[in-house]
């Protein structure tokens, strides 16, 4: 079961909302599907993202996946630890494995995200 206090996309990103800031990462399910993560390509701070636009790439030994922004906004921070320790995405996907933080441009977009129960259903359906 995924953390109840987060929101999710059908592409397996999670979002933690804190006022007008959103922290984004990928779920444990996604990390498990990918296998050992070896590299995460992140956008520059200051970049403006549209909702559901590609903001980066996550690479494992044998696979690669685009990362999609759950919400639109300006990138305010990226996780500096991922360059040296990409494996934290596997080990602590909702904590140390966070990827970017952005300033939410349009709070109404939150309505398009899934809650924990809906995401769990999605994963269970396969």
């Amino acid at each position: 079961m995924v953390p109840a206090d987060l929101r999710y996309t059908s592409d397996h990103e999670w979002v933690r909302i804190d006022g007008d800031l959103a922290t984004v990462g990928i779920t444990a399910y996604a990390a498990e599907q990918l296998g050992d993560i070896v590299f995460v390509e992140l956008p520059d701070v200051g970049r403006m993202l549209d909702q559901f636009a590609t903001f980066g790439v996550v690479e494992s030994v044998k696979a690669v996946s685009d990362l999609f922004a759950p919400l639109g906004g300006e990138v305010t921070a990226t996780n500096p630890g991922l360059a040296a320790s990409p494996e934290s995405v596997n080990g602590d996907p909702y904590g140390d494995g966070w990827m970017i933080q952005l300033r939410i441009a349009d709070p109404t977009q939150l309505g398009e995200l899934l809650d924990a129960a809906a995401y769990d259903d999605l994963v269970a359906a396969g």
Binding site: G35, D36, V61, P86, E87
Partner: protein, 499 residues
């Protein structure tokens, strides 16, 4: 036979000792480099290893014995066509007249090679039903780029600049969409039909005035012939687009199907697959491209031309302005092409037809032998290769295709291609080729069946395989996270050099 025995080798750098080696090249006269300005000169010598010839030889002989190769055993790698590499071809390529010819030699002293290249073009055109062939591309992927660039030039010449898309099936080899991107096109991926073929209806729905081309492999990467190919090609042409055929699977259809006759506009050949040129541990190959009438003006330059008196010459720069130009230096991977030429002449039409017949028969025989122990997703005859799946085995035992592949190594086989194409779960793409005896096929089938049984009785044995290879499974995650891509030498030593 399995690859065991020799221990792993130190690197060249670890074998190096200052003062070892030499005696190959005479010393230059003193002051030979004095006229080179000091600021252009190297200030410290490259720390290359110093070894004597016996150590070099042992190093490379021992390393070679860590390799699996067609010359050591069965290599049923689907989509790679690991057939025997004839030794005559190695001899031919090394003939001094071929090997020592400079690529910018005047045509007058290159007539032997020019004739060989011209005849090879004719042979490939005859095999494929195409009207003309270029031998320039250095590999299949470069051949694909050549073909797509010609298609782009064709549309541009017609003022048809809105054609931005290339359609490929989801079973396509990764080079197809990568090529489309390199040429500036957007790739639209069309899911395959349940029977493993391209979904002709889905293709038709996606075709439109924005389509530049489709890229099709036939037989498909699942080893299945596209029976509705005629209908698909008609639809492609009706939409004003062109059809590219990825010729990687040509080994299945020589003498049975000519892509040019069927309506494909352009295709590439993989001579290191169909025409037996050796894989070399990952290259070199060559990727000649055949075209129909419409694309001839755009072929890369220079072409090999025959003159009225029967001699041959290379096209001059600028002689054919419609050409897309060159994809590489000089004329092509001629050394590889000599081998392909020899192969085709050794076989002739009857021999090549027999190659395809035997390749297809062997694949179907193996498929039949494995049909109880493994899932065989598509219920019809395959061509030169087929997909088997370990999906049921995985469900019942947890053992995966990857494990089965690694376990095959313990029995002296190279694993088949695994997890390609991506559309089959726990897939193994098996291509025996026509040069393997029935005894080899039977022994391989027996082994795969035994491993399937072992998955039930002793799964741990399979999941921790290989056990007898020179190394066990590797830590690929660390290799990618903390790449070590070069040997770090000790600080450079002094290199006294008689000058």
């Amino acid at each position: 036979m399995s690859v065991t025995g020799p221990r792993l080798q130190p690197t060249l750098f670890e074998r190096s000792r200052p003062g070892r080696g030499g005696g190959k090249i005479p010393h230059p006269p003193a002051g030979a480099l004095d006229r080179i300005p000091a600021d252009a000169r190297r200030t410290s010598p490259p720390a290359l290893p110093e070894m004597n010839e016996p150590d070099v030889v042992r190093h490379y002989v021992n390393l070679s014995q860590l390799n699996f190769a067609v010359d050591t055993g069965f290599y049923p790698l689907g989509s790679c066509t690991m057939k025997f590499n004839p030794k005559l071809n190695e001899w031919a390529a090394r003939l001094p007249g071929f090997a020592n010819l400079h690529p910018l030699a005047p045509d007058a002293i290159a007539q032997g090679t020019l004739q060989l290249l011209f005849e090879l073009e004719e042979a490939l055109a005859a095999i494929s039903g195409m009207r003309a062939v270029t031998l320039q591309p250095a590999a299949g992927a470069q051949g694909e780029l050549t073909g797509i660039l010609m298609i782009r030039a064709y549309h541009r010449d017609r003022g048809d600049t809105a054609r931005t898309d290339i359609l490929v099936p989801d079973s396509s080899h990764g080079t197809n969409p990568a090529t489309a991107s390199m040429a500036g096109f957007r790739t639209i991926t069309i899911p395959s039909a349940p029977d493993g073929g391209v979904d002709v209806e889905a293709f038709k729905a996606a075709l439109g005035p924005q389509t530049a081309a489709v890229m099709i492999t036939n037989p498909s990467t699942l080893g299945l012939f596209e029976a509705r190919i005629g209908e698909l090609l008609d639809a492609v042409h009706a939409a004003g687009a062109l059809a590219y055929m990825d010729g990687a699977n040509l080994n299945a259809i020589m003498g049975r199907f000519k892509p040019g006759e069927a309506g494909f506009d352009v295709m590439h050949f993989n001579v290191h697959k169909t025409f037996s040129t050796p894989h070399g541990g990952g290259g070199p190959g060559a990727g000649p491209v055949g075209v129909g009438e419409a694309l001839i003006p755009y072929l890369p330059s220079p072409r090999v031309l025959q003159v009225e008196d029967g001699s041959f010459r290379l096209e001059r720069d600028g002689e054919r302005p419609s050409s897309i130009g060159r994809l590489r230096s000089f004329v092509g991977n001629t050394g590889v092409l000599v081998r392909a030429y020899a192969y085709i002449r050794a076989h002739g039409a009857s021999g090549l037809c027999e190659v395809s017949d035997d390749a297809v028969l062997a694949a179907n025989y193996l498929r039949q032998r494995l049909s109880e122990a493994y899932d065989i997703p598509y219920d019809r005859h395959c061509k030169h290769e087929f997909v088997a799946s370990a999906a049921t085995i995985k469900r019942e035992t947890g053992v995966r295709t990857l494990d089965i592949a690694k376990r095959l190594i313990d029995f002296g086989y190279h694993p088949p291609t695994i997890y390609f194409p991506l559309i089959v779960e726990e897939g193994m793409l098996i291509e025996p080729t026509e040069t393997e005896s029935i005894e080899t096929l039977d022994a391989f089938a027996d082994t795969l069946i035994a491993i399937a049984a072992e998955a039930h009785t002793d799964p741990e044995m399979v999941t921790s395989a290989p056990h007898t290879a020179p190394v066990r499974r590797l830590d690929e995650a660390t290799a990618a996270r903390q790449p070590n891509l070069r040997w770090r030498s000790v600080p450079t030593f002094e290199m006294p050099c008689p000058d």
